[in-house]
Symmetry: C2
Subunit: 678 residues, 2 copies
């Protein structure tokens, strides 16, 4: 009988000969096979489960006997009876090599799990989180060889996990004594290892083997809304999501009005900083409660936001961002203690990673979109549009990527709209208008029924029909245009001109009655001329930004459009194109990336490599400054109209090749021009 | 005429050929010559002053012409008229090499200035502070090449000073914008570069070239007193010193009573932590005011203390230090933010360095003594004794160093003494007793006169004579013993036995009246039997510690004794030896090192290399645990007597070869034995 045996690991294909009796985990480590273990092979954590294969393996040239591994043992039995284990599985730390064997490492037993993300481009993401836990057995103190508890712990981390001596804050040093003694010198250490040169940090310690998970928050801090996803740092799963309005809105609805607030009230950023930090902290409390986890198990947060929010969160005066040359105080990625940002709900030693900003108007949110959508890896020329209160645009392919931002204002989010509201139950989110009868039908958030469907009233009885959200107003305006209720200049026609009593006089202009439940004590929801102007201004700004990038790139059309943010999630590409929000492109070349900034935040949360990648990438993205480009103004003015049906693409063609109308009169045109100049 | 010339720097002897027109500073840098500059050669800081030598230099084989350097220029003229410059000096950044030249770099122009320290062993200390300031010119923001202010600053630091990208706290990021603009993109950056792998840290920025200095605090945090020295980080000078009582005294006079306080009042360390942090912060305010500097220019503090104070300062429960195995929570050196310790008077980004502890009873204060006195470099077998409320002892030579601590209690500091007080004006600090008349004379702090000198009353009128400090009580007891007022067992004789009415009955024992001003409304200052017992207990503990180390080392006598702490500064070696506080050694082999722990703190403040050295050294010091050594108790009991004159050394011999007395009776002996057992 030979003294050693051949061990082949799949899917890696790594192989080697090991003395009989070698635990599979040890063989895996020696070969550099990615087999997880938190307890270091002590039969506690069960992360090292493997699936041995038996029989003939012609591909590998081996035959595996039934006794190729040591017998099922008591540790495995205990774990199986306590937690259950899939048939055929063994614990890698218990099963020993007794003959040639082929061993499969299932995905959930890999440290660097790969997660398939469903999005525009389906992609495999590798789990590579900065914060991980390690079970260690620490030497007891010996008064004849005196050393500190912390030093013995770091020695154990070095010996058992090859972790360089970490630093530790006073908080963890303060609890270390009692945790070590409570765990009888066995503890689970939570260690943060960044992707750069910073020393590792010991964030927390738990007595014994700690069953609880480690969590992270991916936070998309917008001017109007703050959204957070709570993720499991072991596998990237989203356990809960939550959002709230940015409380800074009371200081100004858009970014520049907040900057103005600080200009007029020096030091005013202090109050705004406090407000946004409290909001994020409260969100962490809410989301942890939703997921039924202890918020102190949140060890990381990744925050993406635009530059003004970036500065206001950090407590930095944003005034420089309001004037040329739009200089950021700091643009590179930041690694901070959560406590520095007063995020006290998280673990006291939690780390916050802020993605780098691209420029004074193009922030970490845009960097996050770039991380998620990877325009620099695209063969096609792709335009990525992320709409919030500010729009960020990326244009490029593997040769070159350009970026800019465009001040669309909050209209796309339902703000500054007469019946506007944020996307919540009761808000109209989809609209269709019959081109013949001019009668509308709509859907409200919270129900899948159209307003003309039976049962709609019952389905919406609780929420009521309270207003119209961003996607609703965009569809409404586009549908009004397609139904001939609005002309190319954006003017709503009179009842006479449009042939419908739903166009009602409203001051010197007209409004379209989308819904009227006043008789039943409900709301009347109008689309006013002012609403159309707000949408025109917003979409002109967006379109002008895209055109500016195309000019800079020297192209006339793009090959693909990726819609991200509120846009991608809720606004229909068809209606966006009718409105002229985005350049013309075949509808099947328009894809939605959902909340790409939030996705980018989640990727950065789960992967150190992704952090390093985006930090390098942002330096390669060329920034185009809209605020000083004369052509931006030109494009902006030219984009004001709601376009004619001139494009050759089938579906759009069908939609817009209707007899067009014009309601433009001297008076209304004047109103239009005044608007533009204001 | 040749295109280049030979430049020879002294005292380094480094030499090289440089193209004509090369500034001397640039030549120095290329050769690695230690020539200081904060402004980087811009003629602002004047740190690069040099002294060219002219004429024949046979040793170097060159002749230096008068025109070997470029002409005195306007920048130099401006500096000279504004600040003055010594004759013959030039600015190294202005003077250009025009011919072979010999250039002396005076000590004050060297970055790594060497400072001669007067102490036991005269020693050269190299200035090598962790925190330095750098003048940089930063690129202005360019919206076409967007980058953050911070990133442009770090780029300038890298290009102009070869400093790796530093981290920065939010505080400095917050002020960076306005400082850069105020200084018109020229700033002085204060950068901390540690001696280990941690990244550099940007601590502060000042607009333009900042004239003000950088300061550091060396803090000796004792159980009873806290002493601080304010040092200039450019040359190590002590600008001011201050001290105060440790406010933790209200929780217990000695360390173990503070540990007991926490045992009895779990969480009681919180209050003690707050008290000591506030005290240190207040001390920083006082000392900065004394030196007329802004406390925010204090960028570093080094703190040395015993392990219990170490834990209480850090906010760590000290209870483990009160029981075997006396495990420290952390023993290695710590680098912390001053704000973590609530030291808010310092610069907000100031760093605190805490020296490593040697063991659970032998702290960073002992490490500081080792750093100052370097027993491991001694050829002789040296005993270093540092007395505070706890005594730390080091014994060794270049072969081996041992350490222990001994719980002497605060008697040596004047506490637990009937008329005891801390060393302050009005306290008796020196005592002599005439062996014939038994009459005392003494000196009080604040006057150089003996109490028998004319003018003494006038000189002490302001302070009065208020009590007796640690050195005073030690001298008093030793003098009483030498005058035959106290027997070998420590008992004070009656008036009959001693022949002086100054020995007065006091309860069941006697007291010696050192001073009686009650008739004039002043104090009566006694040395009571209880005082003698307190001193006996303290000195026995100290002596027993020394003996224990000698046992461990396998030696019967030491070659040198170094007295440090209160001991070295104020207690006379002669009296210490009469009392039997230290092992016998010829008096000329006893040297005083002053406040060696404080000196060690200052060395660590001024030198990164010293920090690295002591961190390595403490691991080589072997710790002897007094608390569990049976022989410690044995030595302690045996050391209780105040020794007979048995040693052969001249001076001591003369002092103590007096007819000895014994007042020991049954009753008193019983009292003595009870004391010992109590």
């Amino acid at each position: 009988m030979p003294a050693d045996a051949l061990v082949i690991f799949t899917p890696s294909g790594k192989r080697g000969r090991f003395p009989l009796g070698t635990p599979v985990l040890q063989a895996a480590r020696q070969l550099g096979v990615d087999l997880d273990s938190v307890c270091g092979g002590r039969g506690i954590c069960s992360k090292c489960q493997i699936s041995p294969g038996y029989g003939e393996f012609p591909k590998h040239g081996v035959t595996v006997d039934e006794d190729a591994l040591s017998e099922w043992n008591a540790v495995e039995e205990r774990y199986k009876s306590k937690r259950g284990m899939a048939p055929g599985r063994r614990l890698g730390c218990q099963a020993q090599v007794m003959g040639d064997v082929v061993i499969d490492v299932p995905p959930e037993s890999q440290v660097h799990k790969q997660v398939i993300r469903k999005s525009a481009t389906e992609r495999v993401m590798t789990m590579d989180p900065a914060t991980r836990s390690y079970y260690v057995e620490v030497d007891e103190p010996d008064m004849h060889e005196p050393s500190g508890d912390f030093e013995r712990l770091t020695r154990a981390l070095a010996a058992q996990w090859q972790i360089a001596t970490p630093t530790a804050g006073l908080g963890v040093l303060r609890k270390l004594q009692s945790v070590l003694r409570k765990g009888e010198w066995k503890v689970t250490a939570v260690v943060h290892q960044g992707h750069n040169d910073a020393l590792p940090q010991l964030l927390d310690v738990y007595p014994g083997y700690h069953e609880g998970g480690l969590y992270g928050l991916a936070i998309d801090l917008g001017s109007t809304t703050i959204a957070a996803h709570l993720c499991d740092l072991s596998d990237g799963r989203v356990l809960a999501s939550a959002g709230l309005m940015n409380p800074q809105i009371r200081f100004g609805e858009d970014l520049m009005s907040r900057v103005s607030y600080v200009m007029m009230n020096p030091g005013g950023e202090v109050e705004m900083t406090r407000a946004v930090r409290e909001a994020i902290d409260g969100l962490a409390v809410t989301i942890a409660a939703d997921a039924k986890i202890d918020a102190s198990a949140i060890f990381e947060a990744v925050i993406v936001c635009n530059p003004v929010m970036h500065h206001l969160l950090l407590g930095i005066d944003p005034v420089e961002l309001g004037q040329a040359p739009f200089a950021l105080s700091t643009s590179d990625a930041l690694s901070l203690g959560a406590s520095e940002l007063d995020l006290d709900a998280l673990n006291p030693a939690a780390r916050v990673y802020m993605l780098p900003c691209i420029a004074g108007h193009v922030g970490a949110d845009c960097a996050a979109v770039a991380l998620s959508e990877e325009p620099g890896k695209s063969k096609e020329m792709v335009l990525i549009v992320d709409v919030g209160t500010n729009a960020e645009l990326l244009l490029g392919n593997e040769t070159r990527v350009l970026a800019c931002s465009s001040p669309t204002g909050p209209a796309f989010e339902g703000a500054q709209i007469s019946s506007g509201q944020r996307a919540a139950p009761g808000a109209i989110e989809r609209v269709e208008i019959d081109v013949v009868t001019k009668e509308p039908r709509f859907k409200v958030i919270g129900s899948d029924l159209w307003s003309t469907d039976p049962g709609f009233s019952a389905a919406t009885a609780t929420s009521g029909i309270t207003g119209i959200c961003g996607s609703g107003i965009i569809e409404a305006v586009a549908e009004m245009r397609m139904a001939g209720l609005v002309d190319a200049g954006g003017l709503i026609g009179s009842p006479d001109q449009t042939g419908t009593a739903r166009c009602v006089p409203h001051g010197r202009t007209h409004s379209y009655v989308l819904h009227d439940a006043r008789a039943e004590g409900g709301a009347r929801i109008l689309v006013t001329q002012g609403d159309i102007r707000a949408i025109q201004l917003a979409k002109s700004a967006l379109y002008a930004g895209a055109r500016l990038l195309m000019d800079e790139m020297g192209i006339d059309h793009v090959e693909r459009v990726t819609l991200a943010g509120a846009f991608g999630a809720h606004i229909s590409p068809k209606h966006a194109m009718v409105l002229g929000m985005i350049p013309d492109v075949p509808l099947d070349r328009v894809v939605s990336a959902g909340n790409a900034a939030g996705t980018g935040a989640r990727i950065a949360l789960c992967s150190k490599a992704a952090r390093a990648a985006i930090e390098a990438t942002v330096h390669e993205i060329h920034k185009v400054e809209t605020a000083i480009a004369p052509r931006f103004q030109e494009h902006f003015v030219n984009a004001n109209a709601i376009p004619h049906a001139t494009d050759p693409f089938t579906e759009l063609h069908r939609i817009v090749t209707l007899p067009d109308v014009s309601f433009n009169t001297g008076g209304s045109g004047g109103e239009n021009r005044r608007r533009r100049r204001g």
